[in-house]
Amino acid sequence: MEERIRKIYIPMTETGFYILFCLRREQHGYGISRQVKKMTGGEVVISPGTMYGTLSKMEKDGLISFVREEEKRKIYCATDLGRQILDIEIRRIERLYQNTHPDRESISISV
């Protein structure tokens, strides 16, 4: 992995993380936003300007790729590089969690 990409995306912002996490499956911007809202009980809101900008940047950096267009909506999916970064981030967050909850061994991530 390029040093530049590592520098930008690790560690990741909450917005970036959730977008990439949702893009393990094909999805469009507004779909991601709804999914994140649901997952976080409305705590994490990603506005359209931020969503559009983040998706464009991630596409340019090769973390996600454009799959197809559906009714004027661009559908994206995470690339191998994107999944690699997501894995690194998930491990980092798991470590954070384990170190702050020493009595619990692991967590499960549910969607």
Partner: protein, 185 residues
């Protein structure tokens, strides 16, 4: 009969978009809905039912595409006007289910991105024109002056322009610094 249309003259610089949003929201609350703008100076309104509607401006000088427009529409934002790279959106408060819904940028980073885009594509060309054309032209005229300044209309006009430019730069510069600090928090 009461007026059904009006045009307001108001000047917002490239650093005053937040003030512009607030002003447009206030107008709508008083029953005036913005239709379009000619330059960011002439604002054409039509009479409407007073309502609390949030206005937001995005800056995209490179041209927005249909995917971008569709995304804003999905989020419930009505696009209705563009003016010199600025895109105008609005959404009624009654259609929002949280405070965050009234933003088009949910983090400081994307607000900063927009600010930097404005600086690069609007402020820089202005500064370049000022330093490379206006100032040398003005200095040349200054050198050719003899006697009565007011007898040289071109010099008076140029001086006025230089003065306006300086005021504009100071105003925008201070605003940009303040906005940047706010978004970085």
């Amino acid at each position: 009969m009461a007026k059904s249309r009006k045009t307001e003259i108001k000047i917002f610089t490239i650093a005053d978009y937040e003030e512009e949003e607030t002003w447009l929201r206030e107008q709508h609350r008083q029953g005036w809905k913005l239709v379009n703008t000619n330059l960011p100076v002439f604002y054409h309104f039509v009479k409407c039912e007073p309502e609390d509607v949030v206005y937001r401006l995005d800056y995209k000088n490179s041209g927005e595409d249909r995917n971008y427009m569709q995304m804003f529409q999905d989020y419930g934002w009505e696009y209705f006007n563009s003016c010199m790279g600025w895109l105008y959106f609005r959404k009624p408060v009654s259609e929002m289910d949280s405070d965050m819904d009234e933003e088009i940028f949910s983090d400081g980073e994307s607000k900063l991105d927009m600010l930097e885009h404005v600086l690069k594509t609007r402020m820089l060309p202005l500064a370049a024109a000022f330093l490379c054309c206006l100032i040398p032209g003005w200095l040349r005229l200054l050198g050719e002056l003899d006697g009565d300044i007011l007898a040289e209309p071109l010099f008076v006009i140029m001086s006025l322009l230089v003065f306006l430019y300086v005021i504009l730069f100071i105003h925008c510069g201070r605003k940009f610094v303040r906005l940047r600090r706010k978004y970085r928090k």
